[in-house]
Symmetry: C2
Subunit: 396 residues, 2 copies
């Protein structure tokens, strides 16, 4: 990917549509990126994803490095071929694991201190950090077998080159919302130096530049740090800019971070908000100029029986609730997903109570379809300069 | 279903092909019946089943009576509609649970004493029976919540009428291979009296006879009992005859049971061997005149990573074996299933090790496809009068 065009922009909002070109097809933005941490969007086949209309997915370098290993995937023809996905594909760098297995685990917090981490379960508060950070890189104690592995900015570029995704990310240090200003500043400086090292390594091994490299803005919920980081990372010539790290102690602070950061980024580059994007966030982040976002919530919620339905509180219908026991309706009237076209709420509830594997799949299909359809609606609204109207209609 | 035609019969074997007509389409026999105990073939959608070529599936009355209840399913339009399956459908009567939750559980044995039960995991030897049998029927202590429920031959017909499958079964007492002659004879007598009561109830409520009713032959591994039971059940005018219960202490004894039973059954009725049918059994049971068989082994094995591949010992490839770590080949060369067309052994092994939900689905697709394709080959061979040749080719 070397090409991105941001097409429209409406007054009184920074929402914009764009088209991202990758070696495996285009992505219309703003786009939701489905999470495939271990080279699988949990419970779904690539064909399911295509049918749902998922445009792009993101796998995780840290997880795939541990198992099955990037060399194995490389030998087998790369990650696309390995997992049977022929569309646009990203890999995350492992920077989020610096946080989730480190400070996040010790402090029991997520990227926004009031919520749990986007990836996985609530952290067991008080567990010992599995991470040690120094100038050179990060040392992890494997979450699988306790073995020690070291990731450096260079190593992470090498891993991702072997995996062969269309878009890759630099290694960063994702800090915690509970880190103070001093530490956040120190970590940001390290992230900047790592970005330079990653860029250098990338330039060395990616002479044909088939993979796009995104840099990551850090700086916690501190305005001057975010501004400094946005200017610095924005100036390095990355193909796109990701916004990562601690996003404060509330959704409001997360919005502030976007408002400080995005206006300082190069207009012509796609902007990716890392690991954020529940349904109730979509209009807020897109309205502030985010082009791409990945979030495990829709798929994780699906496996927990929290199904996305318009009109429900926070768009969540708890299918295990006894009120759906004999409900013959689909999850959502008019929904075109395979699940809604074929099954009743009563059947879905039965599958969840019976712990049938099919429950997780049917629920995941619906939740992803919900988000993908919402994003399509959002893009159409931006094109027609009625984004704020659509937001009002959805969010009241 | 009121119509069955057995078409061909080759010399030196009792293998035959036939066509079974049901209100939801035909079943070409001999046919494998996929197991959908709780109204779902584990991990698969109805669309997956159609694509694989599964002709007919079997759900379980005991399980569905407990959860979600036959009244609920009836209100929602019947089991076909509830689970989104539009093809031929059977329900089992709960007779197998008399054994699996009763003597089988106490004794820690399966329908053949040397193997574990076809349905579910190895029984916890020595656990207390959850079943009490008397002349009227069976009392179960629910495996879900310990509540007591009573099934009688009449009640089981009523339950199955509400579920609305195309083929239903009478309640029987499925004995254990460890039961002695006296007890087995006593239980067989009870099963016969229950068959009469079931038939009477069925005649009362099924005036239009849309559902076909199969009776069940019992008698353990005792020749005179099996012969008596075959003659008795065969004489009652059922639409088909199932062969149930204890099948001895070895595959050889199971084959004896078939050889004693089948020649005494009415030629023009389909014969269903209940709960048996691993790949290595197929030629033995079909060769003795079985038309239908249901077996959870292919789907259960799939979820355990035991994948059906010709040429492997007992047709089982253990995908978690490290030898498949970097194996780029499909499970089986030339296999037309979705899994083999799209994924390598290395990827499947990765999914199993990572405990990804997709593993179970892809494995189940392959194993069912394997069995369904084998049965198609078997039918073609019988039609062409080369069944024994095909058996030799497969079994050596």
């Amino acid at each position: 990917m070397k090409s991105f065009r941001a097409l429209h922009q409406e007054k009184n909002t920074s929402a914009r549509v764009g088209v991202l070109q990758t070696p495996h097809g285009i992505v219309e933005t703003p786009a939701f990126i489905a999470v495939a941490t271990q080279a699988s969007v949990k419970s779904l086949t690539p064909r399911d994803l295509e049918e749902i209309g998922v445009q792009i997915i993101i796998a995780n370098s840290y997880h795939l490095h541990l198992r099955p290993g990037e060399d194995l995937i490389f030998e087998l023809g790369g990650l696309h071929k390995f997992m049977g996905w022929s569309g646009p594909l990203m890999t995350d760098s492992g920077g989020f694991q610096v946080f989730s297995l480190g400070a996040g685990m010790e402090q029991g917090v997520g990227k926004i201190a009031s919520i749990f981490p986007e990836e996985g379960r609530p952290l067991p508060r008080g567990e010992k950090s599995r991470v040690r950070i120094d100038e050179d890189g990060v040392e992890f104690r494997s979450h699988l077998d306790g073995s020690i592995l070291r990731l450096t900015p260079e190593k992470v570029i090498e891993i991702q080159a072997k995996l062969g995704a269309d878009i890759i990310l630099t290694l960063d240090e994702c800090t915690s919302p509970l880190h103070d200003y001093e530490y956040t500043k120190e970590a940001m400086g390290r992230t900047h130096r790592w970005a330079l090292r990653a860029f250098k390594k990338y330039a060395e091994i990616q002479r044909d530049s088939k993979q796009a490299l995104f840099g990551i803005v850090q700086g916690g919920a501190y305005r001057d740090l975010r501004e400094e980081s946005a200017k610095f990372i924005g100036s390095l010539g990355f193909d796109g800019i990701a916004i990562g790290g601690s996003l404060g102690r509330s959704k409001r602070e997360m919005h502030d971070v976007l408002e400080w950061t995005i206006p300082l980024l190069p207009e012509e580059k796609p902007r990716h908000l890392l690991g954020i994007g529940e349904v109730e966030d979509v209009f807020e982040i897109v309205g502030r100029g985010v082009d791409l976002f990945d979030c495990a919530a829709p798929t994780r919620m699906a496996r927990n029986g929290a199904l996305l339905v318009k009109g429900e509180e926070k768009f969540r219908l708890n299918i295990c609730n006894s009120r759906y026991k004999d409900d013959p309706r689909p999850l959502e009237e008019g929904c075109k997903c395979y699940t809604c076209r074929n099954f009743s709420r009563a059947y879905l509830r039965h599958l969840f109570l019976a712990k049938e594997l099919l429950a997780y799949k049917l629920a995941t299909i619906h939740n992803l379809h919900f988000v993908v359809s919402l994003m399509k609606e959002v893009r159409e609204a931006i094109r027609d300069r009625r984004f704020l109207e659509l937001k009002e209609r959805w969010m009241g």
